[in-house]
Symmetry: C2
Subunit: 254 residues, 2 copies
């Protein structure tokens, strides 16, 4: 590499999130049946600290490539990536380092494609080992990035369509609700039956709002959540209708 004036190191980090089933053993009464997980890479060198995926921006690599580089071939398509913010005080240096942090949302179908070159785990964000007791040690600064990423995800989830990025191709209304519950850590009807109707109504309203938005933009009234016509039986109760999301995740809903 040639010497350039005023050069600093740039790191691209990503907090990769996904939704997974909560193991029955770890499900306290009232807790949602799904949970939000983040991908952490195992300790490197002698630090003993876990870290968010990412790496240096070198040559002509994009920020996205640098963030996903250590996650295996073919990782990228199917993952929604957006910037969180850029830090100038995360890595004390030297060398002087600027960190560009991202949020990534991984649908279940793509999760298997994520094969980090080093040991890695999907860690539930609201449970040990991220919190006491037996806290998993994180690289300095990465806990802050993760906290801010989580905060941003929770804020954005109710004025965007980001939640749909972590659903399978086909899903039931219950699964959709469980995804929102896992992200927000809040009961929206799975345990408290009284809130269920409000959630489904808010989704209906969202669907119509987005449909009208698309009509204004393309001339065709196209709500993003469509029934496939099929149903699926759960362990209890009647069969649930299956839906697909056909819209654009990046659309802002309000």
């Amino acid at each position: 590499m040639t010497q350039t004036p005023d050069a600093v190191c740039v790191q691209s980090l990503v907090a990769l999130f996904t939704i997974d089933d909560r193991p029955p053993g770890r499900r306290a009464p009232g807790q949602p049946p799904k949970e939000l997980k983040v991908l952490l890479l195992g300790p490197e060198g002698d630090s003993g600290a876990w870290r968010l995926p990412g790496g240096p921006v070198t040559g002509q690599d994009t920020l996205v490539r640098a963030a996903l580089r250590t996650l295996g071939e073919g990782v990228g398509p199917g993952i929604h990536l957006e910037q969180l913010r850029t830090y100038d005080d995360l890595d004390p240096g030297p060398p002087r380092t600027i960190v560009v942090a991202h949020i990534g949302l991984v649908p279940p179908a793509v999760r298997e494609a994520v094969r980090p070159s080093s040991p890695a785990t999907w860690v539930p964000v609201d449970e040990p080992p991220l919190h006491a007791p037996g806290r998993l040690p994180l690289v300095a600064g990465h806990a802050r990035v993760l906290a801010e990423a989580l905060q941003r995800l929770r804020n954005k989830v109710d004025y965007t369509l980001l939640a749909f990025q972590m659903l399978p191709e086909e899903f039931t209304m219950s699964e959709l609700r469980q995804v929102y519950e896992a992200i927000l850590g809040e009961d929206l009807g799975t345990s408290d039956e009284r809130r269920k109707a409000n959630f489904e109504r808010s989704i209906r309203l969202l669907n119509e709002r987005v449909g009208r938005l698309m009509e204004a933009r393309t001339g065709v009234f196209q709500p993003p959540i469509v029934r496939t016509g099929r149903t699926r039986k759960g362990p209890r109760g009647p069969a649930a209708h299956l839906y697909r999301f056909v819209g654009d995740i990046t659309l802002i809903t309000k």
Copy 2:
């Protein structure tokens, strides 16, 4: 400077906005009496292109310092700065350059403190010379940054308190309305009398919402917009009440 591996150049840019009175000569009927302006620095070298303020991140400078460095001593306090996003494709290089773009909001009282070391102008964002005819040439990429900054500002202004950052210490309800009109480019009551009441009501509701939010946080019901008790006479009509903003601009209102 020592050679470091994987080093790239990092630039910190800022789109500095302020609100100014629209010259009576350029005020078409129906247009708001104030306008949103952005600071542009004059051509440098042989490019002939105008540019957003900013500069390289070197040594131990923060991103904020690098963004404001060429704007004169003592610039920083009183200006609200927040990140827009980080670009990896703005400057084609070489050298490989990453650009961290910011949005800055300058209150009128601080505007005079901004004294760029090179020729500079505050340019109205919705008029020539930024748009045809006689378009003012911008450095490649800077038009895109400006457009995205403007879009973000317009989006954020109605779920945050950012508008208050561009008001003088004391202001009337009309001035507040005119600031919103200048940012959004939309008549909220200055010309269309029917909308005026709705704007004032929305401000009252905002004020109470924020007051309750502060009560939940500090125990004291503290709405951010308070009457000073004084009034001010305009060119027409009765005297208007004067208000001050005593809250925190960074608070999210929804």
